[in-house]
């Protein structure tokens, strides 16, 4: 089934950083595959790692320039950018989060995949409350689900 039918992107649909780059440290993962007219990520990047010729192009990322700083995560109107760090024993993922309650550092929450299914626990490593109300939450999960977990469920 394609993402056009069920809305779920598979890894094969994505333009991902190389495995080497992923192992090096935090890097932005863009889950933006359609030619929609949108370009705020280009201006948002402080390292000029994102480029686009036409506004309807998909973003092109220079993964050598990308430091995984996560500025773009909260800017993206589609909430389609994540930062993934596979350099450590466990995977760190930074996700955009626009729900209540907002978790706190140290909390354990449920880790959800792209279908909203629970695939394990996630530990909250950091929460950044942004002015634009798209908060960014960094979670720690098992390494093997680093490219699968894309949401959290906070039960308080």
């Amino acid at each position: 089934m394609s993402y056009k039918e069920d809305g779920v992107l598979e890894l094969k649909d994505l333009n991902l950083p190389s495995e080497e780059r992923l192992k090096k440290g935090p890097v932005a993962v863009f889950e933006c595959v359609e030619n929609i007219p949108c370009n705020p990520c280009v201006d948002a990047c402080p390292f000029k790692a994102v480029s686009m010729e036409k506004i309807t192009d998909t973003p092109k990322i220079d993964y050598e320039k990308c430091t995984g700083c996560g500025t773009c995560v909260s800017v993206c109107p589609g909430l389609a950018i994540f930062v993934v760090d596979l350099s450590k024993e466990k995977a760190l993922i930074t996700i955009p989060y626009e729900f209540l309650p907002i978790p706190e550092k140290g909390d354990t929450v449920k880790a959800l995949n792209r279908r909203g299914e629970i695939v394990g626990d996630a530990k909250i490593i950091g929460v950044k409350k942004n002015e634009n109300k798209t908060n960014t939450v960094t979670i720690e999960v098992k390494k093997e689900v680093g490219m699968i977990v894309r949401n959290i469920k906070v039960i308080k």
Partner: protein
């Protein structure tokens, strides 16, 4: 305390009566009600009556919880204003001063606002923005008042209405008259109208007219961040864009704003005139040199059994209810349509703490952006393509729906019917341009499906076949807010340029037109692009 206790018992009685009425009328399907199927044994009548009292007490408790107290994006505490009281069919209702009659009643658990004119079927609101007549009520003795755009007032007397009022009941506007003269009159203060006003006011006097109590059009409920280019406020939430534009307009000395005023007609006496009704009681004559019409669009509906039950709302209407007035539409929603509107509103329902049971889409593919679909999916909401709604059921409110799979010929596949337990059904099945005023003016129209149906013929400078009359935004063909803002600017400058020659302004207009073209590139801009091309070819 004693008083509220009485109301409480009345409410229980009300729900009880509704249940009895439902059983006599439609005994068949009752999946929406957990106790319904058990209540049919007459020997157990007394017992079930007690059970029902508990059930309705619970329902009433749920009704009280319709108001949002916390929200990840919005803050309603400041917005709501102070508490006031009005009466509905003689019963006192407590609400907030900055809300409409319809939202106040919905928060109090009242969904039936009127009865249809022929069959007297119960009707709730449908569009919540004053475009349909589903919510008309009698207010302080005046019938046919659109309760969805009329603010409550302390001591207001609101009564439900059966069908349309007769002419004798109508209170003709007596005596109160006003006259306004301007250079450019703009009808509709949404994204297109606001942008048109700001551009035109750099050079001319502008009058901006809107029938709502506030400017901003549908931007005031768009809590998501906008797409598009950084130059055109991309990544800013719609509500914030509305705030900024409205502030600029209100501060602009060249712009006069006329709120709560519906333009009801146009007439030409060697000059352009518009007639408007202000506050339901004052006739305003507007003399102007140029007119820009930016009246937006209305939500389409869909044909299925019981599609008029209160609780079946336009997706945009639900957005108004929850994002503007902070009232939840219900607890469990079925969303029909997976275009951007359906997907965005579903996500916003989740943000308001409302459960979205599923999204059904008749087409084989999701119509909206994948990023919106992906956001919903990772929250666990299923999107079922090649599925549609077969029927809704309930009495005076939705209690469930049957969804079904469709085959290649759009026919329901037998045996795939599924009953789902929902209390709200949202229809996100497209929009139609609001062109009533333009037609009354005498503009010719053309049916262009890519633009949402009948649209008024206009050229690329957005001028219609009537010289000096321009269109912008959804009423010129369905698009998005970002393209509406650009169109507004272009129409504003076109109106200015028809009164003066200025190369600088012409250059700016060319730039804006290029920007608009850019936004309509790519697969998602295809429909409006093709539609507009067809339209421009029709210009004589």
């Amino acid at each position: 305390m004693i008083n509220s206790g009485k109301i409480f018992i009345k409410e229980i009685q009300y729900f009880y009566n509704a249940e009895v009425a439902e059983r006599t009328n439609a005994p068949a399907l009752r999946a929406g009600s957990p106790l319904g199927s058990l209540g049919s044994n007459p020997n157990l009548g007394a017992f079930w009556n007690i059970v029902k009292v508990f059930k309705y007490t619970y329902l009433l408790y749920k009704g009280v919880k319709m108001r949002l107290t916390s929200h990840p994006i919005l803050d309603f505490e400041k917005k709501r204003g102070k508490k006031i009281k009005f009466t509905y069919n003689g019963r006192e209702i407590e609400c907030y001063e900055n809300e409409t009659i319809a939202s106040a009643l919905h928060a109090a658990g009242i969904r039936v606002l009127s009865k249809s004119s022929k069959l007297l079927r119960p009707r709730g609101f449908y569009c919540a923005i004053g475009k349909c007549a589903s919510c008309i009520m009698t207010v302080d003795g005046v019938p046919n008042v659109r309760s969805c755009i009329t603010l409550v007032r302390e001591g207001m007397k609101v009564e439900s209405q059966e069908g349309l009022a007769s002419l004798q009941d109508l209170n003709p506007i007596k005596g109160k008259k006003e006259k306004i003269e301007t250079e450019i009159a703009i009808v509709g203060g949404g994204p297109a109208g606001l942008s048109a006003a700001l551009e035109a006011a750099k050079y001319n006097r502008v009058l901006l007219i809107d029938e709502n109590h506030t400017l901003g059009g549908q931007l005031i409920k768009q809590t998501h961040k906008f797409f598009g280019s950084r130059k055109e406020k991309a990544s800013t939430r719609g509500i914030k864009i509305a705030e900024e534009l409205c502030k600029e307009v209100m501060e602009n000395e060249n712009i006069e704003v006329l709120l709560n005023s519906s333009v009801i007609g146009y007439y030409n006496e060697n000059e352009y005139n518009l007639a408007a009704v202000k506050n339901n009681d004052t006739l305003v004559k507007i003399k102007t040199e140029k007119i820009i019409v930016s009246t937006g669009a209305s939500e389409n509906t869909l044909v299925f059994e019981n599609n008029d039950l209160p609780g079946i709302y336009g997706a945009g209407a639900v957005q108004t209810l929850m994002n503007v007035y902070g009232v939840k539409p219900g607890d469990k929603v079925l969303m029909v349509g997976a275009g951007n509107v359906g997907l965005i509103v579903s996500y916003q329902l989740l943000q308001a703490g409302v459960d979205v049971v599923c999204v059904v889409e008749a087409l084989p593919e999701i119509g909206g952006y994948n990023v919106h679909a992906a956001k919903l999916r990772r929250c666990g909401v299923p999107i079922l393509t090649k599925h549609s709604i077969l029927r809704a059921y309930g009495d005076e409110r939705v209690r469930g729906a049957t969804i079904v799979k469709l085959d290649e010929n759009w026919k329901p596949v037998k045996g795939t019917e599924r009953d789902i337990d929902v209390d709200v059904i949202c229809l996100a099945v497209g929009l139609s341009p609001s062109i009533e005023l333009l037609r009354q003016m005498g503009c010719s129209t053309k049916y262009i499906p890519e633009l949402g149906g009948n649209v008024v013929i206009h050229n690329k400078y957005l001028e219609t076949e009537i010289t000096g009359v321009y269109v912008a935004g959804d009423c010129s063909g369905i698009g998005e807010a970002s393209t509406a803002m650009l169109e507004g600017k272009i129409a504003g400058l076109s109106a200015v340029l028809s009164m003066r020659r200025d190369e600088e302004i012409e250059r700016r207009r060319e730039e804006l037109m290029k920007e608009l073209e850019e936004l309509r590139r790519g697969p998602f801009g295809e429909r409006p692009r093709i539609g507009k091309e067809k339209l421009f070819r029709a210009v004589r």
